[in-house]
Symmetry: C2
Subunit: 396 residues, 2 copies
């Protein structure tokens, strides 16, 4: 009964739901998935069947690994302390194998498909689907002469795009973090719902949002041999710089022309913005500051200036990127918005790095917006809040 | 160095590629994923790190579970015999925990995210991305009064949709199988590339393809208590019928009106088709044969008439669905295409079931197309071939 079997499984699972105390299946579970569960305080109860395992560890990326406890029924269980609101990646380490939880939806992060649990934020619905007009998310493939490959991107079009076939729209290029891909801002970040809600409330200009795959290698480029080279060594840095440079070329020479040819954009610098999180923030600074003829709005979400992130170079704000920050008046004329954000619970190095950049920009007299997300780590809740603050300031 | 760390991981993984013999990383791996590997004969080499595991089993859904062999480096490995071309779902059972392979992309099947490996078919590229105009796949959300929930669907629009704003298009509703979801036909089936290639070759009329989430429950409906009820028991059947009926109502009363209101469709029965695989095939027969005022083209891919699938009722072709097959001339006037397909290596019960239906339709004098996919099982290669044969016959 294979073909029907799954349907029955589905029915059985959704019909066997029982909710203990106020623990409820996470909204990020697969349909019918009863675990993980979340309670009103943000505690997360994880449960996995591994009857023959000798050790099962729970690996929330935002915290230390913990040992799960074997139950009599062959399941292993653990309930966390209350977690901050938002989406938390996790995996399970079963006798040394680092795998995803079959009860959870899988999200692309850390260079693999990982589980994640959504901890609701009471009274907050700016990233929920609501009864407002919805934009559409489109999948596009473009043939990049830079990488010599087909590349996949997601494009959000605002709700009125099809009803108003004469209207042209500004464009925000919005990048994922390292280890994530072009699906992150929709699946994890819920950027489409954030924009839908902001646009419906009149808080944000209708805009197109393009989410690209942030890794690239030039067609025919040699793979550097990184084996045995220490992290941060010259070979590593060269490899990263090559990747960043190839992505910069792909975005400016392949993606932007494709988007302007495919959609009703306003194809000029005044109506083009770029923002990104973490590694995507570094890419944003590099690409926008190297190409101010193309961009006029810049957002760094938990990501600083490239060289700063190496952590071992003093940042001289007046000389970075060919001295773009040396003349505040000239900068303000070109850049309509420079936006920086960080979560107050992010790792000290990142928090200090972004706060230091903020201070340097003040010293240099560079007008910018600075936002700290209270109580959130280097995670999606920070970046959802960043987008909510950033998007309304665009194209004004 | 967390934000950069993943980028470095990425670089390290793609740069450490070494290919032994003609085993190559599967195209379905995550970027940089070196395993599973596939060789020219279709053998699949799976490798997973589980240093403390006592047993690791490889579970290809198309075959029996096998024990993997522990290596000295803490990895477990197994190489299969040659597999048929196409996409094969699999999971790993690590000390009793049934999990996905972190080296593989994950696809929604079996009610969870599963690993899968693509075994290439030499000389066959009808489902590959090629240098032809590409349609766009769009994500839409519609508010269903039937289920009382927001529902997600994917919509393929043909390449010329935006260049020809006056053109209206016929619509194919294309359903996934049991345990899969609305993403299956794109992620696993590559329906968008199949249509792109057929349309570019002039073999197929440009059409809109709508892929809906095939499970539904009426708003406020009670969950049946299935605990302890034997499979196929009256309670089970009622539950399945309720689900099928709710989905039928959702499609006919919510989804179709939404699609016709949102896209430039030709909103009549002559320009509306439905097809589905396995459970989706059953849904197709039920929904189309109950609603011939809405549909005129019908495709069943490895899925028969609902009651037939229960396997314990004689199918009387002249009485099913209120005798719709009783008058061949009347049927031929209403139904422009009735299409049946099955893979020759599918389980005997299914193969015989569809062959039996084919024979009954011949006896009843019902004009139809029958196709057998040589050497393929109840898997996506069968359904990709089905779509390639089915789509060109639509709307002629």
């Amino acid at each position: 009964m294979k073909p029907l079997g799954w349907a029955f499984l589905f029915l059985a699972s959704v019909c066997s739901a029982q909710e203990s105390a106020d623990f409820r299946p996470a909204t990020t579970n697969v349909w019918g998935g009863q675990y993980p569960r979340v309670d009103g305080a943000g505690r997360v109860e994880v449960r996995i069947k591994a009857p023959e395992a000798s050790t099962v560890r729970l690996n929330f990326w935002s915290g230390p690994k913990v040992d799960m406890v074997k139950q009599e029924d062959g399941f292993w269980a653990f309930t966390t302390d209350p977690l901050a609101p938002g989406l938390h990646y996790y995996t399970l380490i079963i006798d040394g194998a680092d795998v995803s939880d079959p009860g959870s939806q899988h999200f692309f992060g850390g260079g693999r498909y990982a589980s994640a649990v959504e901890v609701p934020e009471p009274g907050v619905d700016f990233y929920d689907i609501r009864s407002v007009p919805h934009g559409q998310v489109r999948e596009v493939w473009y043939d990049s002469k830079i990488t010599g490959t087909w590349r996949h991107a997601l494009v959000y079009l605002p709700p009125a795009y099809e009803e108003q076939p004469q209207t042209r729209y500004p464009v925000l290029y919005l990048q994922h973090g390292g280890g994530e891909d072009e699906t992150g801002w929709i699946r994890q970040g819920r950027a489409n719902f954030i924009l839908d809600n902001l646009i419906a409330a009149g808080d944000c200009r209708p805009m197109i949002v393009v989410m690209a795959y942030g890794y690239a290698r030039r067609a025919g480029a040699e793979s550097p041999d990184l084996s045995g080279r220490p992290f941060g060594s010259p070979v590593w840095r060269k490899a990263l710089q090559d990747m960043m440079t190839a992505f910069e070329a792909d975005m400016t020479e392949a993606l932007i022309p494709f988007i302007d040819a495919t959609y009703r954009t306003v194809p000029d610098r005044d109506h083009r913005a770029m923002a990104g999180l973490s590694m995507g923030g570094m890419q944003t600074f590099q690409i926008t500051l190297n190409n101010l003829d193309l961009f006029s709005h810049i957002g760094g979400f938990s990501g600083g200036l490239g060289r700063m992130m190496f952590g071992d170079q003093e940042l001289d704000i007046r000389t970075v990127y060919d001295g773009v920050f040396a003349d505040p008046a000239a900068f303000a004329k070109k850049v309509h918005l420079l936006w920086l954000g960080i979560g107050t619970d992010e790792p000290a190095r990142m928090l200090e790095g972004i706060r230091g950049l903020h201070a340097s920009l003040i010293d240099a007299g560079i007008e910018h917006v600075y936002y700290e997300s209270p109580g959130t780590d280097h995670e999606w809740q920070t970046w959802r809040r960043d987008l909510k603050d950033f998007a309304p300031r665009l194209f004004r």
